[in-house]
Symmetry: D2
Subunit: 295 residues, 4 copies
């Protein structure tokens, strides 16, 4: 007999994660704001729910993969939020990229309700999720992490533990997105400068991606930026901007001046201010720099 | 019978390169401003020279590994410069990190003298040079590159060709150093912010170095920055600042606004202005950020 | 018979404003968190109150001069807030430097309560307030502005109308503080660079303050920055940082990239991160730049 | 009988200065690259010259008002440069905005030739020059300054002495242009942000120009930026960029990190990279910010 898990959030990342869990033999109680997205899943393995509260009913685990702090908070504490129904001792596995203080606030609310919150944001694009190749960062109480691990492993290449403090995994996740964005900006600047000296952007990007910078970030985004090919859209500028705003918030909260974070924030803001919403975040950096350089 | 090559510049990088050439069977006519450095080499394989001109006499190839544009220019065109003696059709293999316009100026002078200049800056720290693991970027005339390759391969992991335009390899080299410096700044910002949230810098650095950023730059400098361990010094802040100034110059020449390059330049300038010359460039970034953040 | 006005907030600015109103013949119902500050006022012209609600009882006008958005919001909507008692048709004259959306939120709440909110932030340091030389920026409904003007004129050099939209005066106030901070940063950079070339900072500051930049900001702060004399403290780094954070917030809300605002924000954040709270904001800029320049 | 002065450089600023000198009773030996410009002057008061050397022949004073360091250097040391003919003990009054080390280099050359160099850059736009309202900054030897003063006073509102060190007046001039550019950037950011909140740019600019920032810079450029009216062109973006590059050079030479200078430099560089040469420098700032903000 299959174990049932609650699941909320069928976005670009949530959908392949849900499929992985189904493939691993779980039955899902699924809620998604846009109902049609639920039709993509194997219907024999899911139960459609009309609210977060319904998805959280009678389960030991509920997973959320949502867009931002506000949506997640509403999903937890709203009138039909999961706190209304989540059983005692159940665990909320929260995969969204949110601020650490939101994580801590929600963890407190879960504690008061007699259940638990696990910060478990993930690194990886949708295709990595589909291939069960996400890196999942977790932080929270030891026994909660222990209990959630088998579920997380169904969709992760590796589960990395960042300790007991509940917001820590979120700090790591936001740091990582900052580093990805900084990598795109640096490549955009370097490759555009090279281009203006008559050096082929593509050859430069390939060289660095195969040598000093032979890491996934520099290979995939490096190619996009070098070739100025920003489609298909993998991750939108707006989501990137949300992350950049979170970095600024963390810079302020922690009193850490982060000049690169300011450049990144403004680069994305220019793209949004110009109305190019929906563009891939790599375009915000790549085209932002080439526009400024007049090429 | 051994082939003789001229060799000028026994710095941190020049010395292991010279040793590799000796190991490969070449005899070297060596000039170095500081004579004592020459004693480190196998004396049976070298001839000590009293000037660049002497080192360039009767050879088909002369290699220079020098600190900056001014020193290289003086070595080529000075009263005892290599142009005074370098034979017709000989090749000057120039490994220094210099501006592309300096490379083009020197290439013209060599052409007028009836011989050739090959831009061949290298990526790698001294230990990589000792292990014959440098990445050597070359640009110049096809037959010159062809002729120089066997020599370059004695000391390189790979020789990458960036075309006929003589300054191109220099543009790539400067771009790369910019990207390395940007990587250090981004790690310093991210790891310091994480630290101030109570997350262990070392664990964060290890995580990124093993996953999204599993490239040499992020592993080696990531560890130094995470652990705030900036010794032994591998590459000084002053040399890093020279590179950062070259990036700004290229940004201006090519009309490419490069905001990250400005942050980097100022980070190094603060360290120099405070009199901390001689420190490793990773310290300029790492300690620069932690100082600003009060930790 | 004297008219009675409610008055909340006896800080550096609130105290001289209260004194001006007393001098103009008003009787004040005063509330201040720190009671001892009330003793500075002429006791025959005031009534001490134990809460904002008490200060707002039976008056046609209540003035607030508070530190930030959170304190003001609490003063309005708290359990003992002014909304509990402020009569119908009364006007809340709000002089604090706060975000425009806070102003709009409070204006809505007042409207629902049957009374009115007038944004009226002021420019000027405490000595300007004492000399009735403040510039008061107002925005709100026409009849509310009309009604409040005689009171505002008791303490202002000029009352400037920025229209009906309630947050506009706050936008202007925050813009002005941004421009003051930018002026300090620019002077700190210029005068330090001049100093390092052996040019006397004081003479340079005096020259600019008497010629191209002969405006109050450049004279007063220019002298402080040139002489590196940052005492007595007129406006703390923390208050400056609050303003810088408001600017960033407005930059984000309005989708206006403001690179100068980022530099300013980080300059103040460095000072705070290093624990130099309580310093004058001119020191954050002046000493921030000289520290970075090693002088 | 009229005293004769050499005069080189009839640009936007040189022409009104020449006219002032003629009005004051001097006879000018004029050289200008573009001959037609000489026709604008009263022909009875001038002698047309075919080279700098000719203009410098037999005079006690020669004035140069040129575009940049390279042109000035060529004018002094070129084959037909003024050093070829300038009499012993004559004085070269150099009004161009150039780097202090260029000034010092030229001062040395003049000294070797037995005559003198006086740094005397000026502040003021062409209309100020026409009205004899320039601020002239001087530095050099006391007796040289003394001798030149009567001539400078014919075209200045005030002559300000910055000491004996020959480059000091140039440092002050470059600092001032930096502060003017920073003022334009800050206004552009503030007024655009205000606009996006629905506040009238013009009213905001007028308010600040009449109150806290009631200095010429904020009134004139403030109006242009507020009204987005960048014509007629008073000072081109390219000249502004030359100044911004000089500031960066001075920042490097003096080891003074100047983050505002970087922002300014890039703002102008974007405009130039996009091919909008010939635009007023106020447009580079004003339109640069509104473009980025999408308005």
């Amino acid at each position: 007999m299959k174990t049932t898990i609650g699941f909320i959030g069928l976005g670009n990342l949530g959908t392949p994660i849900a499929k992985n869990l189904i493939a691993a033999g779980y039955h899902l109680q699924v809620y998604n704001r846009t109902l049609s997205k639920i039709d993509e899943l194997d219907q024999t393995s899911i139960t459609k729910c009309g609210s977060p509260a319904e998805a959280a009913k009678s389960v030991n685990f509920i997973i959320t993969v949502l867009a931002n702090d506000a949506v997640l908070r509403q999903t937890v504490v709203g009138d039909e939020g999961i706190l209304k129904t989540l059983p005692l001792n159940a665990i909320h596995i929260s995969m969204s990229t949110i601020a650490p203080d939101t994580a801590e606030e929600l963890a407190d609310l879960h504690k008061q309700a007699g259940n638990s919150y696990l910060a478990s944001p993930v690194f990886g694009r949708p295709d990595a999720a589909a291939a069960k190749m996400l890196w999942t960062c977790i932080s929270g109480e030891a026994e909660v992490k222990e209990a959630a691990k088998p579920i997380l492993e169904c969709t992760s290449r590796e589960v990395i533990d960042f300790g007991e403090k509940v917001g820590s995994a979120n700090v790591v996740k936001i740091s990582g997105n900052f580093m990805i964005q900084a990598s795109m900006e640096m490549m955009a600047e370097a490759y555009t400068m090279a281009e203006k000296f008559g050096v082929d952007r593509g050859i430069v990007a390939e060289f660095f991606g195969n040598t000093l910078f032979n890491a996934p970030i520099f290979k995939s985004y490096g190619k996009a930026i070098a070739e100025k090919k920003y489609e298909p859209v993998g991750f939108t500028t707006e989501l990137g901007y949300k992350d950049a705003s979170l970095v600024l918030k963390l810079s302020q909260q922690s009193k850490t001046p982060m000049p690169f974070a300011n450049i990144i924030h403004n680069r994305l803001l220019v793209t949004i201010a110009k109305g190019r919403t929906g563009a891939d975040w790599a375009e915000a950096f790549g085209k932002g720099v080439t526009d400024d350089a007049g090429v």
